[in-house]
């Protein structure tokens, strides 16, 4: 076990210059301390942190205003000034109680190869002019009711729900993200797959004028992902249309993307234009790119390493350290392990 001396020594001391507000995902403790270490008994009571807030306000001279504003611990106060989504059902029992990462971090650090290669703020920088416009989605294949929809018609019949999920990237970093979306099950049930449907294949829009990297052969476009039908029907699986109560920003997969919280992030295909119900397992893009490194299932699994790095631990951003232990199925084992009973997860990685 690593010594935690350094970790412990950096608990917030209450000095205004040392840390932001307790409970904020930004304070120094989060940089250094592993979240799994924080027992609920250690969390500062509200009365105390409100007092500390007063203290910080009073002694605010040393604290730069911007830092303070960004340290707001009310999730509702965050956002990027995009249109708000109405009638969002909150408080899902499927949401984690862990503190979400900041809007800024969630939207300035991710992978979206249509905009830029590699994790970072490339997707944010290169998607500034992206407008979803009149987004259409095609549902076809083995379904009773194939149809082409305008996005607003597609989502209209369903209730939007906030789901705060852990997000584990295959690159061994993780975030907590407050998505807004629709349970995919509701959509699947609505379009009525036939008995031949075994998988759902998702496809991203191809439009090199809006996705600059599609002019290169970095990946084989369009980006394709797939789920087994039972995975698609699992209550945790959602099609997300929002983040922090607002519509999705372009870099996070606007206007509609898949979120499967027990799988690595690359399964969460973005900017979806087609859902096809198929009999055969689709070949997803990253499996096509590097079949020895990325499989179809991509379930988060600390016991199955990526060939080039360990998956046993992760950096819970914005922490500097990969000291958070990765959990089986990203901590959703109770809900999803039964989907894979009897399967060799080392083979079906």
């Amino acid at each position: 076990m690593p010594s935690t001396g350094l970790l412990r020594a950096s608990k917030p001391s209450g000095g205004a210059g040392m840390s932001c507000l307790p409970g904020s995902p930004y304070n120094l403790a989060m940089l250094i301390k592993k979240p799994s270490d924080i027992r609920s008994s250690e969390i500062t009571p509200k009365s105390l942190y409100l007092r500390r807030r007063e203290f910080i306000q009073v002694s605010g001279a040393g604290l730069v205003a911007a830092g303070f504003a960004a340290c707001s611990d009310e999730a509702g106060a965050q956002g990027g000034g995009l249109p708000k989504l109405a009638n969002v059902k909150k408080g899902s029992p499927l949401s984690t109680s862990e503190a979400p990462n900041s809007y800024e971090h969630i939207t300035s650090y991710n992978n979206f190869y249509e905009f830029a290669s590699g994790a970072g703020d490339g997707p944010k920088q290169n998607s500034k002019n992206f407008k979803p416009g009149n987004w259409k989605i095609k549902v076809d294949g083995e379904v009773a009711k194939p149809a082409d929809y305008l996005l607003e018609d597609f989502i209209k019949p369903y209730t939007l729900e906030e789901r705060i999920y852990r997000h584990r990237c295959v690159e061994a970093w993780s975030l907590v993200i407050p998505w807004v979306g629709i349970p995919l099950k509701d959509i699947v049930d609505h379009v009525q797959p036939t008995s031949r449907a075994k998988f759902v294949k998702f496809t991203t829009l191809v439009d090199p004028t809006r996705f600059p990297m599609q002019r290169t052969d970095l990946l084989s476009w369009p980006y394709v992902e797939g789920l087994r039908l039972d995975e698609a029907r699992h209550p945790l699986t959602i099609l997300a249309v929002g983040l922090y109560g607002e519509v999705l920003p372009a870099q996070n997969g606007a206007p509609i993307r898949l979120v499967v919280p027990w799988k690595y992030g690359f399964k969460g295909i973005k900017s979806i234009v087609r859902m096809e119900f198929v009999e055969k397992q689709p070949l997803n893009t990253w499996q096509q790119q590097a079949p020895n490194e990325y499989g179809f299932y991509a379930n988060v699994n600390p016991m199955v390493d990526h060939p080039r790095w360990s998956q046993a631990r992760e950096k819970r951003l914005p922490s500097l350290f990969a000291t958070t232990k990765t959990q089986m199925f990203n901590g959703y084992a109770d809900q999803v392990a039964s989907l894979y009973t009897g399967m060799d997860l080392k083979k079906n990685f």
Partner: protein, 214 residues
């Protein structure tokens, strides 16, 4: 002050800028002045930056001899040791980010990493080369090792190759950047091969080698 000493001072200060930028970024992060100063993933950012600057200083130090030869500016050789030591400096920081950020002193996990993951194996081997070159970079070693010193320090070429392979093997899909480094390194090593071949021919013809060739 001699001109080359002044240049050395300027290069020394400039070579510290990337490290200073990281320290300043960490300061801003630590005090909550700019929580995005080192991106949302400060650990990986510091790793990437220090790795990039290691490669950069390796390549820059390998530019010295060709520059000297092409421009006949002999004094430039006096920058080479310092540039090489900066490659070692950034390489050591880079290796330490792996020890501290990625493994938090978990020695077993690190051994496993070195043994099982070729890009880590190559990266570590490259750092060991840089360490060997750094500890023998002083006048004492040059005198003691005599002709062996030059052979030993030709390992700088191996370090350059190792650094580029390490980078190439770690990217997920986009090899644009490693390709650029490889092209730069290929050019620098290619020039040396070309000159060495010409020098041999010159000897065969019975001439004297140019004094600038090293």
């Amino acid at each position: 002050m001699k001109r080359i000493s002044a240049i050395k001072l300027v290069v020394f200060a400039a070579a510290l800028i990337p490290a200073a930028a990281l320290v300043y970024g960490f300061y801003k992060l630590y005090y909550g002045i700019d929580l995005n100063a080192l991106t949302a993933n400060p650990g990986d950012y510091i790793t990437d930056q220090t790795g990039t600057w290691t490669l950069a200083f390796l390549i820059i130090s390998l530019c010295v001899t060709p520059l000297r030869r092409l421009t006949k500016w002999n004094e430039v050789i006096r920058l080479r040791r310092m540039l090489g030591l900066f490659a070692f400096f950034y390489g050591t920081l880079h290796m330490l980010t792996w020890v501290v950020f990625n493994h938090f002193f978990d020695w077993n996990a690190m051994l496993k990493d070195v043994g099982e993951r070729p890009f880590i194996t190559v990266g570590m081997a490259t750092w060991v080369i840089l360490l060997a070159l750094a500890v023998t970079s002083n006048q004492y070693s040059i005198r003691k090792l005599k002709r062996k010193w030059q052979s030993l320090h030709r390992l700088a070429y191996a370090a350059g190759i190792g650094g580029v392979i390490h980078f190439w093997w770690l990217v997920k899909a986009d090899t644009t950047e490693p390709r650029r480094w490889a092209a730069g390194l290929g050019l620098l090593l290619g020039m040396r091969v070309w000159w060495a071949a010409r020098k041999r021919q010159f000897f065969i013809k019975g001439g004297k080698p140019s004094p600038a060739v090293r």
